[in-house]
C-alpha cells in the first residue's frame, strides 16, 4: 500500500531511533504530548516506546473526540434515540461509550431503539431518503477532520429539501483543547505536568493547516511538530522535537508535509465557516467548560439541527467519582494511576471513555502495553 508501507519500514524506524538516542541530552528529560488519539494508538500498537530512550516521556493528550464527549451528551443522544419515530445514526466508536446509569447506545439498541452504525454521513443521508416516515438523526462527533463531512451532508439535505434528516452536533475544536491544557494550573503554575513539546494532529491539520499552531508555539514557547499517523512519522516528529528542544527553538514544523500545508483545505474550511458558528462554551470531559471550543449550526440551517427540532436535555451529570478519565486526558495521571483501571474498568466493562475508545489512553495501554506494568513491578 503506497504511502503506508514505506512509512512502516522497521529498519528505518531503527535508524531514526539511533539518531534520536544520539541527539538526546542524557542530563534532561523530554516531555512530549501527542495530542491526537490516532498518535496514541500508533505508539501503543507498534510499541514505539521501546524504540525511544528512557528520558523521552510520551504523554497522551485529549485528542480523542470520543473520550472528551461528556456523559450528558451521550445521555442526550440516547434520549433522542428514544423519541418517537427517530432513527439515530452513529459512527461505530460511540456505540459502547457509557453514559449515565451504565447505559450506552448499544444497550439502548438492545432495548429496542432504532440505532444504526454508519461509516459516513452520506450513509445517514441515504437512510433518511429511503425511510421518509422516520426522523433520521445523525450523531455528529469529531474534531476538525470530521466536521466538513457533516457539513456536506447537511448541504445535500438542503439541496434535496429533506425534512426528515437532522444532526446532533458535538463537533469540537483542537486549538481550544490545546489552550486548555497549556492554561491548566498543573501545567502553567504548579508544574506538576511538565510539557516540553507537542506532536500536532495529522488529519485535523490537513483541514486547518499548520498556521493555527503558530500561536501556541509563540505564546507558550513550546515547539510543535505536525506528524502523520504512521510509525515512522511519529518517530521523525520526536526526533524533530528533540532537536528543537535542544536548540531552544519553539517553532511549528510540518513532518506531514505530504498532506498538510500552511493554510490547509480552504474548500472544507469555507464550507464549515458558512454553516457553523462557535458555541460560547462547551463542556469537555475532564477539561470542564471550555469557551469557544465547539460548534453548532447557524440559523439558516436550523431546520437540520436536532437540538432545535427537539428540546434535547442539557444536563451535565458528573463522572464516576473514582474514574480518572479527566486527569488522564489532561496528562496529569496515567492509566495505572486510576484505581478502576484493570480491576473494574476493562475494555469489556468500560467505566469511562478512555477505556471504550480504541484510541483512549487506557484502552491503548490495556490492549497493547500492560505487560510493561508487570515488568516494572517485578
Amino acid at each position: 500500500m503506497k504511502y503506508i508501507d514505506e512509512f512502516r519500514d522497521g529498519a528505518v524506524a531503527h535508524s531514526i531511533a539511533t539518531a534520536i538516542a544520539a541527539e538526546v541530552d542524557p542530563a534532561r528529560a523530554y516531555h512530549i504530548m501527542e495530542f491526537c488519539g490516532g498518535h496514541t494508538h500508533a505508539i501503543s500498537r507498534y510499541g514505539l516506546e521501546d524504540l525511544l530512550p528512557a528520558n523521552i516521556r510520551m504523554i497522551h493528550g485529549p485528542g480523542c473526540p470520543v473520550c472528551v464527549l461528556p456523559v450528558g451528551r451521550i445521555d442526550a443522544a440516547i434520549w433522542l434515540a428514544r423519541q418517537d419515530g427517530v432513527t439515530l445514526c452513529t459512527y461505530g466508536d460511540m456505540l459502547r461509550v457509557p453514559g449515565s446509569r451504565r447505559l450506552s447506545l448499544l444497550k439502548a439498541k438492545a432495548e429496542g431503539c432504532d440505532i444504526r452504525m454508519v461509516y459516513s454521513t452520506l450513509d445517514a443521508l441515504k437512510l433518511a431518503q429511503s425511510l421518509p416516515q422516520r426522523q433520521v438523526v445523525f450523531f455528529a462527533i469529531g474534531f476538525e477532520t470530521t466536521t466538513p463531512p457533516t457539513a456536506v451532508a447537511i448541504k445535500q439535505a438542503q439541496a434535496l429539501n429533506l425534512g426528515n434528516f437532522s444532526v446532533f452536533c458535538n463537533h469540537v475544536l483542537t486549538p481550544s483543547a490545546i489552550t486548555q491544557i497549556l492554561d491548566s494550573p498543573e501545567v502553567r503554575e504548579l508544574g506538576t505536568v511538565k510539557l516540553d513539546a507537542f506532536i500536532g494532529p495529522a488529519h485535523v491539520s490537513t483541514i486547518i493547516g499548520s498556521r493555527p499552531y503558530e500561536y501556541f508555539a509563540e505564546e507558550y514557547q513550546r515547539p510543535v511538530v505536525i506528524a502523520g499517523f504512521e510509525p515512522l512519522d511519529v518517530m521523525q516528529a520526536v526526533r524533530m522535537l528533540v532537536r528543537q528542544i535542544n536548540q531552544g527553538r519553539f517553532e511549528v514544523e510540518n513532518e506531514f508535509s505530504r498532506a498538510v500545508t500552511r493554510d490547509g483545505n480552504e474548500k472544507a474550511k469555507a464550507l464549515v465557516a458558512e454553516m457553523f458558528e462557535l458555541r460560547r462554551a462547551f463542556e469537555w470531559r475532564g477539561l470542564g467548560l471550555v469557551p469557544y471550543s465547539a460548534l453548532r449550526l447557524k440559523a439558516p440551517y436550523a431546520a437540520w439541527d436536532a437540538e432545535r427540532r427537539w428540546d434535547v436535555p442539557q444536563d451535565s451529570p458528573p463522572d464516576n467519582k473514582a474514574c480518572e478519565c479527566g486527569a488522564i486526558l489532561r496528562g496529569v495521571k496515567k492509566p495505572i494511576d486510576c484505581k478502576l483501571f484493570g480491576t473494574v474498568c476493562t475494555p469489556e466493562n468500560p467505566m469511562g471513555s478512555c477505556m471504550v475508545s480504541a484510541e483512549g489512553a487506557c484502552a491503548a495501554h490495556w490492549t497493547y502495553g500492560r505487560f510493561r506494568d508487570v515488568e516494572k513491578s517485578e
Binding site: 522497521g10 507498534y46 510499541g47 514505539l48 516506546e49 521501546d50 452504525m117 476493562t346 505487560f371
Partner: protein, 349 residues
C-alpha cells in the same frame, strides 16, 4: 442413487415457493420437503433409511463428538454460504482433535417465508461440501418458526470422528519452547463476509477461506502423532485463539508480526475499517503448536497440502505466569495481543 419417493402429487415449487409453517408441522408437506430437498441432496445409506436416527457400527477406539450452531448473516458470501460453512466448521472441530471425521448431523430452523430457492441452494452447497470432504450428513431435523422469530435460517450440527492411537491433542498441552505454526493467511473469511454488507460497499471480491481441514490434519498426524495443540482460529481470530490456548496451557507466547501472512487485499480492507487482521475470523486455517524439533517436518507437510501453501512459523511459547501473548511489531517494539473486547462483527460464523 435412490429416487425420491413421491409423497405429494405436485413437486415442490423451488423457483417461487416459500417455506411455510406446514413444512415444520410433521405432516405431508414436511415429508415432501425432507424428501425432495434434503434426502435428494444428501443421499447416503444411513439417511436413505428415512428413520429419525442413523444407525451404524462404531470402530473400537477413542471417539470425539462436537456440536456447532451457524447463524451467519449474510447467508451467502464470496467463497461460501451458511451450508458449506456448517460442513467445514463441524468437520474442522472434529479434525482439531486429530480425529478422522465419520459423519455429521444437521438440524435446520427455518423462518416462515424463507424462499425455497435459497434453501435448495444452501442444501446443495452443504451436500457438495459434505461429498468433497467424504463426511456424510446421516441424520437431520427440520423446524419452521413464525415470521420474525428467526433470521432466515439457522443450522445446528453435530459431528463425530475417531482419534488415531497415539494422538492426544488438547489445548492444555502447549509447553514453553514449543513452536507456533499457522497453515496460511489470516483474516480472509471475516473480511469476505464484511464485504457483503451494504454499508461497506467494497467492490473487490475477497473470498472466504472456508474449507475442510481434515485431510491436511491426517497428513500432519501421520508424520507427527505427538502434536500438542491444534485449533482453528474462527471467531476472534488468531488473537483470541492464541489467548485461549495460552490460558489453558498456562504459558506465555511471543509471535513476530512480520511472520504472520496476510493477503494484501485483506490488509487493505482492515486498514479501511480500522481492524487488526489478528482479530478477524478464519474458517479454513489452523494453528498448530508442537515441540520445536517437529516444526520443520510439520511445515513441510502443510505446505505440500493444497490448503497449507502459505503455512508459516510465527513464534513460540515461553514461560510466563501472566500468560501474555506478546508480539514483536514490524517496528521492533513490543505489544500485547489481547482478547478482543466485545463483539467485532455481528454473526460472522
Amino acid at each position: 442413487m435412490t429416487l425420491p419417493r413421491r409423497t405429494h402429487p405436485r413437486p415442490l415449487d423451488i423457483a417461487h415457493g416459500r417455506v411455510d409453517l406446514t413444512h415444520g408441522g410433521g405432516g405431508r408437506a414436511m415429508a415432501q420437503l425432507v424428501e425432495e430437498l434434503f434426502i435428494a441432496a444428501f443421499d447416503n445409506e444411513a439417511l436413505n433409511q428415512r428413520n429419525d436416527q442413523a444407525a451404524f457400527d462404531v470402530p473400537a477406539g477413542r471417539m470425539v463428538m462436537t456440536t456447532d450452531g451457524y447463524v451467519i448473516s449474510p447467508l451467502f458470501f464470496p467463497g461460501g454460504d451458511i451450508g458449506s460453512l456448517a460442513v467445514h466448521g463441524t468437520v474442522n472441530d472434529v479434525a482439531m482433535a486429530g480425529a478422522v471425521p465419520m459423519s455429521l448431523s444437521a438440524g435446520f430452523i427455518i423462518e416462515e417465508g424463507f424462499p425455497l430457492a435459497d434453501l435448495q441452494r444452501i442444501v446443495a452447497s452443504m451436500a457438495q461440501a459434505s461429498r468433497q470432504a467424504g463426511v456424510p450428513v446421516v441424520t437431520g431435523d427440520t423446524k419452521v418458526v413464525e415470521k420474525g422469530k428467526g433470521d432466515g435460517i439457522f443450522i445446528t450440527t453435530a459431528g463425530i470422528g475417531m482419534v488415531p492411537p497415539g494422538v492426544a491433542i488438547s489445548g492444555d498441552r502447549a509447553r514453553p519452547g514449543d513452536a507456533i505454526l499457522i497453515s496460511g493467511t489470516m483474516g480472509d473469511h471475516g473480511i469476505a463476509v464484511m464485504s457483503q454488507r451494504e454499508s461497506l460497499g467494497f467492490e473487490t471480491a475477497i473470498l472466504s477461506d472456508s474449507a475442510a481441514l481434515h485431510t491436511m490434519v491426517a497428513a500432519m498426524v501421520a508424520v507427527v502423532p505427538g502434536i500438542h495443540v491444534l485449533r482453528d482460529p474462527t471467531r476472534g481470530g488468531l488473537a483470541a485463539t492464541l489467548n485461549e490456548i495460552a490460558s489453558q496451557s498456562g504459558v506465555g507466547m511471543l509471535i513476530e508480526e512480520a511472520l504472520v501472512p496476510v493477503r494484501p487485499e485483506v490488509r487493505g480492507a482492515c486498514e479501511l475499517l480500522g481492524l487488526d487482521p489478528l482479530y478477524v475470523a478464519n474458517e479454513g486455517k489452523l494453528i498448530c503448536i508442537c515441540a520445536e524439533a517437529d516444526a520443520e517436518a510439520l511445515l513441510a507437510v502443510m505446505r505440500a497440502h493444497p490448503l497449507g501453501g502459505d503455512a508459516a512459523r510465527i513464534g513460540g511459547c515461553r514461560d510466563d505466569s501472566h500468560h501474555f501473548v506478546q508480539m514483536r511489531t514490524q517496528m521492533g517494539g513490543m505489544r500485547v495481543v489481547d482478547w478482543l473486547a466485545g463483539e467485532q462483527l455481528p454473526r460472522i460464523c
